[in-house]
């Protein structure tokens, strides 16, 4: 009993300790503000759910995801987003075909071949190029790449999935390169030396030792690059062509999910079916990128454990 009374007494005294009250106040302020990111993330999810779910009163979930026709402004409207999902997948896949070899290849070049001087120049340049705004890429695609592609493939329009893939791929390359290079940096030099010691050439060491050791780090880079490509809006809006039909070849215009949202939100009457459908697309998009990020996080954690780096 005596002990409890003393504890209560102590608690009261420490609360009354005025000069330290300010300290506690600051700690609480920082703690609360630290939750801002979580707050916004949850806020985004809630908004997407609240504004997106009403569409499922009009169409079923499977009709929405697997429906082959996206005619949101027709009467009756059709809200099948399969063409949009496929367009996103095609364009992302195409972008990976570009940024995987270029980004990882450049990272390997930087890490294994470039001298310290060359590296000191090239690394910041790559980083600088990563900051070029997406709308500039889109603009370049429209004015330079589009007529070029139109001519060599004899197309009715140069605004195609291929165009979007190339531009997105180039755009994601610096990001992939930077992250992959960091992963390569973490590979301990002892691994390389051990390989040289048994008579392997530099190339063999690279293929058989360095790349496997940095493998999951490189995968993280590619996944983050993909995540960026799926979520990228302005470039695909400007160069993908915008036809909401299921694509058959890379030389057709397509309308990825992000482009659909960006292009149509301005005309969709607030609170209507089209409006809700666009939020539902954003929800799908959010889930996809969320999964990408989680996978990237898990892989990079395993990578750090594998190389004995602290998590």
């Amino acid at each position: 009993m005596d002990g409890t009374v003393r504890q209560i007494y102590r608690a009261i005294i420490s609360m009354m300790n005025m000069p330290r009250f300010k300290e506690k106040l600051y700690k609480w302020i920082f703690t609360i503000l630290a939750f801002a990111s979580l707050f916004f993330l949850v806020g985004i999810v809630l908004v997407l759910i609240k504004e997106g779910l009403p569409i499922f009163q009009k169409v079923s979930f499977s009709e929405f995801i697997f429906g082959r026709y996206w005619y949101p402004t027709y009467n009756p409207a059709e809200f099948g987003i399969l063409p949009l999902i496929l367009a996103s997948i095609w364009v992302t896949f195409g972008a990976v075909m570009v940024c995987l070899p270029l980004g990882v290849g450049s990272a390997l070049y930087l890490n294994e071949l470039a001298g310290p001087r060359q590296k000191a120049v090239l690394k910041p340049i790559i980083e600088l190029l990563a900051s070029i705004p997406s709308v500039v890429f889109g603009f370049f695609g429209m004015v330079v790449l589009t007529p070029f592609l139109q001519e060599i493939f004899h197309l009715p329009t140069g605004l195609t999935a291929l165009n979007a893939s190339i531009i997105l791929g180039i755009m994601a390359t610096p990001t992939v390169c930077s992250i992959a290079e960091d992963a390569l940096n973490y590979v301990p030099n002892a691994f390389r030396e051990a390989s040289f010691a048994v008579g392997a050439t530099r190339w063999q060491t690279l293929i058989k030792v360095v790349i496997p050791a940095a493998g999951s780090g490189i995968s993280t880079a590619v996944i983050l690059g993909m995540s960026r490509a799926v979520g990228e809006t302005m470039t695909v809006l400007m160069v993908a062509g915008g036809a909401a039909v299921i694509p058959h070849t890379f030389l057709e215009p397509v309308r990825p999910m992000t482009a659909a949202i960006a292009a149509e939100m301005g005309e969709a009457p607030i609170g209507g079916g089209h409006y809700h459908a666009l939020f539902a697309i954003a929800l799908v998009l959010f889930v996809i990128t969320f999964l990408f990020n989680i996978v990237a996080e898990l892989i990079s954690r395993r990578f750090r454990i594998k190389l004995g780096l602290s998590g």
Partner: protein
């Protein structure tokens, strides 16, 4: 002999990757610079547009970009800094911290157009700010938050633990230590992160599509509740809207060049500053 051959071939392949990357990105800068340069003039930068956007300059567009960019930083900096301070100085290593860290990472991965929808639903509609500088700044601010947090964290972690101990051993409280010792020491690093974020925010388009941007406003924005013209959106609009595509294209080149130079200059500055700071920390 065979070994050497595959090695040379492989290394040449890697060199090619690097070369193609630099060439591709370089050609973008080259095209835009060459074609945009002829449009660039003092009038282009300082006059308002007229004749359905086909004549005059883009001054209000530049000013608009400036407003929403700084608006977003004013919002994101205190919040991001507070979060970084909590994570680096106060947080006990716990589940809570992990949750915060994971949400920062995921917020950084949210597609920019989704931020735009969030801004539309919350700031434009729910709070009734309308399509305005305020809505756009808040939306962009949320987008910039993860960037600001991670660069501020890096800066705070670079402050040696020994001077924190020195301050505490003199009888300073934790907050006094943070305010007087840790923050001033980390300030250059924090500023670099802010500059880097400015560079990125200035070029973002999708989040302001439905929250702030307009293709044409009369003159300069009047209050934080006005719509604005902003460089990145302007480029897009010039290419896809309006009645005179050919004349607009020339202006789009000019806008692209201005935006490109602006962003490359800001980011370049930040990268150089950071390189210096890292080397001085050893």
């Amino acid at each position: 002999m065979k070994k050497d051959f595959s090695q040379s071939l492989g290394f040449f392949g890697l060199f090619l990757c690097m070369a193609v990357t630099l060439l591709a990105l370089g050609s973008i800068i080259y095209f835009i610079t060459v074609r945009g340069f002829s449009v660039l003039s003092w009038d282009f930068l300082t006059k308002v547009p007229y004749s359905a956007m086909t004549k005059g300059g883009i001054a209000p567009v530049i000013v608009g970009t400036f407003y929403i960019t700084f608006g977003s930083i004013i919002f994101a900096l205190p919040l991001g800094l507070a979060c970084a301070i909590y994570l680096c100085e106060y947080s006990p290593k716990s589940v809570v911290v992990n949750i915060i860290r994971i949400s920062i990472n995921n917020l950084a991965g949210v597609p920019s157009v989704v931020f735009g929808l969030f801004g539309l639903a919350v700031f434009v509609k729910f709070f009734g700010f309308g399509v305005s500088i305020l809505s756009g700044s808040l939306t962009l601010g949320i987008l910039a938050l993860p960037m600001i947090i991670s660069s501020a964290q890096e800066a705070l972690l670079a402050v040696p633990q020994s001077i924190r101990e020195a301050s505490l051993s003199l009888g300073a409280t934790k907050w006094e230590t943070i305010k007087n010792i840790v923050l001033p020491t980390a300030l250059p690093g924090i500023l670099t992160g802010v500059i880097l974020s400015i560079g990125r925010v200035a070029g973002e388009t999708a989040p302001i599509l439905f929250t702030a941007a307009a293709f044409y406003t009369r003159g300069y924005p009047k209050s934080i509740f006005s719509e604005v013209m902003a460089l990145p959106y302007h480029i897009y609009a010039l290419m896809t809207e309006g009645a005179h595509p050919d004349k607009q294209r020339a202006i789009a080149y000019g806008c692209s060049l201005v935006l490109l130079l602006l962003v490359l200059f800001i980011s370049g500055l930040a990268i150089i500053l950071r390189q210096r700071q890292r080397s001085s920390h050893g």
